[in-house]
């Protein structure tokens, strides 16, 4: 059984076995994800919950595409709480977990694909 925090099955179902495209998709994920986490953190600091909702919504599709199961509920809760503006006190912890897990996943991906 894989001990990894992600799988590429969903992406492969979409694009097939095309290494070049997969490489491009990995680059996009590695480039965009830190920016989206920063935007969520920024929203948290500014109490701009629409911004958090917006970027959580976008990040959700990447999390689903990489099958990052640990974050599947997490990202949905961030999106829901920010959108409905309730249970806001849970957002910092949820965001911290998001950042930590995504950090690990990105490291794993970098190692798996020899990305610096």
């Amino acid at each position: 059984m894989s001990s990894k925090n992600y799988t590429l099955l969903n992406i492969k179902a979409f694009i097939g076995d095309d290494d070049m495209v997969m490489d491009k998709m990995i680059d996009i994920f590695l480039n965009n994800t830190p920016m989206m986490i920063s935007k969520i953190e920024e929203g948290l600091n500014k109490k701009d919950y629409d911004q958090i909702n917006f970027y959580a919504h976008k990040l959700k599709s990447s999390i689903d595409n990489f099958s990052i199961i640990q974050l599947s509920d997490n990202i949905r809760l961030i999106e829901k709480f920010a959108k409905e503006k309730h249970t806001l006190d849970r957002l910092p912890d949820l965001t911290q977990k998001l950042k930590t897990v995504l950090g690990s996943v990105m490291e794993e991906i970098k190692n798996d694909f020899n990305k610096s």
Partner: protein, 447 residues
């Protein structure tokens, strides 16, 4: 088919790239990804064939993007791809002109693929229809479609030209076989309505009880046997041209209904309450004299003035001089094309014979004569003997060629003798001449 350009508007670059890659599996698709709404709008001049639009964008809302796309070109199909299922938004966007609304899930790529395939098929069909219409239009380019060089036909060309430049009703009169429907089609396909339907209906061919439902359609249950709604000819011809041939055969009650439509520009289907607006150009035709028909009470006077519009009276073929030979040669070419044979020519004597005949059946009759001559001729030249006149209008051959009075008398007597098995006594009685006159002519080999 022209190239199929797909715009993907998706701020999630990852997802957008995946969609792009997926759609590019079809080598005919030219796919472009935009990460925000404004970039898509700035690139609409590239004429995308379809747009996949993420509803949630960073710069402007999907709602605003679709409004701008539809403002630029309402025919561009826009498929909304949204991260959330929101029925009220979906309904609003469909109202705004969205082609479809998908929620992002594992099936999105396949649904998008199917939707684009359907859009492409529709575009292909539309292009085919436009191409066909252009081909038909060219066929009916009237100076080519209507053959002839006589002054009579040149006058008709001038009238057709005027008819194509306005929306006025047209009434075409002329003997049977003079080409009334051809002229009506030529007017339609050379007018601003050319890309819309031309619908022809022969009033005399439809029983009077059925003409109303034929013209206006009917609703389900309007009468026994009306199992589903039927669209009438007025609805089919909307924005195009409706050609009513043999208009003088329309019964008087139906004329009243037609008059009301022409005045109010709306009607209801039989058995229906809904008022349907109509924008139809009417061309009517008859081989009868419309004024006479009004006098006889067969056409309502008020309808007559409505229908008269621009009157075009087609000349009989016998008044068109050398057009007879131009048309005969045209029919020879058509015959050769249809039968994959060499185009035959006409001998001098055949030309002379054709020119002298009065053609009571006009161009239709000439065509039949030429087709028969083409069948009868043994080589590539059609001569006098191949030209046979079998008019249903009772004109006998002896009237065709100019002759002296004595010449005509001989021909008449010969004709009667043939008809009555050389019974001289009977012929003398029928023609009220002496039997000795006939015997003398036989003896002198005059007949």
């Amino acid at each position: 088919m022209s190239s199929f350009k797909v715009f993907i508007v998706e701020d999630d670059e990852f997802y957008g790239e995946m969609l792009k890659h997926h759609l590019q599996k079809n080598p005919d698709y030219e796919v472009e990804l935009f990460l925000n709404g404004n970039d898509c709008i700035k690139n609409l001049h590239k004429q995308p064939s379809a747009i996949s639009l993420d509803y949630s964008l960073p710069d402007i809302t999907g709602y605003e993007v679709i409004k701008k796309i539809k403002g630029y070109n309402p025919d561009i199909p826009v498929i909304i791809v949204s991260g959330q299922e929101d029925i009220s938004t979906a309904v609003e966007l469909i109202k705004e002109g969205a082609y479809d609304y998908f929620v992002k899930n594992t099936e999105t790529k396949d649904r998008l693929w199917i939707a684009l395939t359907k859009i492409r098929e529709n575009i292909s069909l539309k292009e085919e229809i436009i191409e066909l219409k252009e081909t038909i239009g060219k066929q009916y380019e009237f100076r080519k479609a209507i053959k002839g060089n006589s002054q009579a036909i040149k006058d008709i060309f001038n009238l057709i030209e005027k008819a194509t430049q306005s929306n006025i009703s047209i009434s075409i009169t002329g003997e049977t076989g003079t080409g009334k429907e051809l002229v009506a089609r030529a007017i339609h396909y050379n007018s601003s309505r050319a890309k819309k339907p031309f619908v022809a209906i022969n009033v005399s061919a439809i029983p009077s009880g059925l003409i109303e439902s034929e013209l206006f359609g009917y609703e389900k249950g309007a009468f026994t046997g009306a199992n589903s709604r039927k669209i009438g000819k007025f609805e089919v011809a909307n924005q195009g041209t409706l050609f009513l041939d043999e208009i003088s055969d329309m019964d008087i009650i139906m004329q009243t209904k037609l008059l009301r439509i022409l005045q109010e520009k709306e009607y209801s289907r039989v058995g229906g309450n809904e008022n349907i607006k109509t924008d139809v150009r009417l061309i009517v035709a008859t081989n009868k004299n419309l004024t006479e028909e009004v006098k006889k009470g067969k056409i309502r006077e008020d309808l007559y003035y409505r229908l008269l519009g621009l009157p075009i009276e087609l000349p009989p073929l016998r008044h068109r001089g050398d057009d007879i030979i131009i048309l005969a040669k045209h029919f020879l070419i058509e015959y050769a094309k249809e039968n994959k044979t060499k185009v035959a020519s006409l001998s001098e004597s055949a030309i002379e014979k054709l020119k002298k005949y009065p053609y009571p059946g006009n161009i239709r009759e000439l065509k039949a004569i030429i087709e028969l001559a083409s069948v009868l001729s043994n080589d590539d030249v059609i001569d006098e003997s191949n030209i046979n006149f079998n008019s249903a209008h009772g004109t006998s051959d002896f009237l065709i060629e100019e002759d002296t009075l004595q010449g005509y008398i001989r021909k008449i007597i010969k004709y009667y003798l043939q008809k009555h098995n050389d019974n001289v006594l009977l012929v003398a009685k029928k023609l009220d001449i002496g039997k000795s006159t006939i015997y003398r002519m036989i003896k002198n080999k005059e007949i």
